[in-house]
Symmetry: C2
Subunit: 375 residues, 2 copies
Amino acid sequence: MSVRKPTTLTLPVPLPLDSGQALDAAQIAYESYGELAADKSNAILVCHALTGDQYLASTHPVTGKPGWWDRMVGPGKPIDTARYFVICANVIGSCLGSTGPASPAADGKPYAMRFPVITIRDMVRGLVGLLDGLGIERLHAVVGGSMGGMQALSLAANFPGRTERVLAIATTARHSAQNIAFHEVGRQAIMADPAWAGGDYYASSKQPDAGLAVARMAAHITYLSEEGLTEKFGRRLQDRPDGSAGEKSFGFDADFQVESYLRYQGSGFTRRFDANSYLYITRAMDYFDLAEEFAGEQGGGQLAAAFAGSSARFCLVSFDTDWLYPTAESRHIVHALNAAGAPVSFVELSAPYGHDSFLLDVPPLDRVVRGFLGG
Amino acid sequence: MSVRKPTTLTLPVPLPLDSGQALDAAQIAYESYGELAADKSNAILVCHALTGDQYLASTHPVTGKPGWWDRMVGPGKPIDTARYFVICANVIGSCLGSTGPASPAADGKPYAMRFPVITIRDMVRGLVGLLDGLGIERLHAVVGGSMGGMQALSLAANFPGRTERVLAIATTARHSAQNIAFHEVGRQAIMADPAWAGGDYYASSKQPDAGLAVARMAAHITYLSEEGLTEKFGRRLQDRPDGSAGEKSFGFDADFQVESYLRYQGSGFTRRFDANSYLYITRAMDYFDLAEEFAGEQGGGQLAAAFAGSSARFCLVSFDTDWLYPTAESRHIVHALNAAGAPVSFVELSAPYGHDSFLLDVPPLDRVVRGFLGG
């Protein structure tokens, strides 16, 4: 991929990891928008989701598409870059400039599967390292949806003095058995692809695109609601190449529009994402259990303990059609925050798009984001 | 696979298919239990699900496991073989003795992808051919869960004189966009496996087991409820080989019990099922839309029309945790039966196991089955 070089900061000290290992000279690639105030009080950190990146509101260098939250971030938008200095960084383990499995290890060759297994907390340690490098002691807010919400909660719990506000959208404090199961299918699809080659495919002419595409397709279904899929595609057939109305082919081509859509999602994804990064980041999400991190000697952690030291204000948002991280998961977090005495507001929004609602056109979300950040 | 030879009936005339093709000398492999009454009035046809087979209440020749509905079928059991003559046949397209992609075509080589694409109605045509061969004009009942339920409904609609009772469990009258999407992921996983080789793997030393296992894993998640997975596995870790309590490995082995379970489900499946059969049968299910089959000239079929000629009594059963074919799908069928003036009873049962509830220990289901068949 020949793309413009990302802006990066190299952490000056080794990044400690939950595994006990450390990452030397970890690079954090980031984008920023707006101006940092002289007193550095107006910084907002936006954390990205599993397959997201730092191109929050700027053109993606590989796909050429607008930033993934362009509708939310910009001058006059809910995350208003005329007021705030907005930062978004690629998480460690990813593949858009931050240190990950595709990065060179000490021997100059890609880490591949020698890259240490990381956690959400490790990602957050990397982000806090970036804030340190930028001289930002305390954020106006940390904001994130899905895995970004996990990072926002982890930052609040592990670095309680570093943010005034926490906005966590369509997320969870722990991965469920079903969440883990879907991720495991994706990992198995990648590792079943002979081109994966134990992770050592970087110098090969063959990439594990087929396995990665299947992983993406399986995951993509979980991002959409059954109602949304029915409304968008139903059982409608593909039009024929000549433009005439589709008929069943009695073959294995994509007859149904939903099949064609999924195939497109799968193949498009492989052009912008590294298969090993997908393995590492899904693993980090599956390991995520914020209560467990704050468990006492006897284990059996109470999520409230995670937030005991926090002075931040919280806002939780869920979507009624999100079956990946349903409203009950947000409510579980709210109850823990209540028990910890933390100020929290919570809203379940109605939107037809399932988990992906946080990325899509849901005007009530805009109002919640604007209101919480400005309040 | 060296296994005991299945009991088969060869259809005396070519089996016509919805694609316009026909299957010559199609074989239908079946098992039967109990005694056919002299007046042939006590026959019950049980239709199997996607990965099921004719070994309803007898030992599976490959796995050595008891029949898949052993708890339901036998002397004194809800489907009482002391009273009824119970038949279960492998559907065409499958791989346990009925004609399918692994069967020899006219040239003596396996059909592989030369096998015609079939539909649920084609499967039912094969089953009716078997009934003809056995001299059974009118069934006491046709019974099926999941894809078996689709066949039961299709038989009632397309061969309205052939059964007195229809018992359709955990099923639907049409595959939704989400249903199709999950199947498409499975098909793509199989076809992405280089060992699939365009379907021509029968003479090869390599079989597309990796792809088929991924397909099975993805599908298996849809058979279980989120609650069931949480109850059965939660976030519990695997015990170590030495028996000590599990810890996170910070690697990609199966750390979580749910991962290990899924891998086991995937690999076990490949020992008993043919990858091409999986492609063909999922395609048949995705094509299933009973209302469409009975659409008028203008299209836009009304499901009620499918049942207009039926003289059977119907019973529909759904499970409250089934998110693959949720209760709303059964209710949709019930409304159509009401509109067609057909006698129908309907019950939604509470069971924690999701879609797979129809196969598991749900005593209220036993009572419903016994009552409906005996009434």
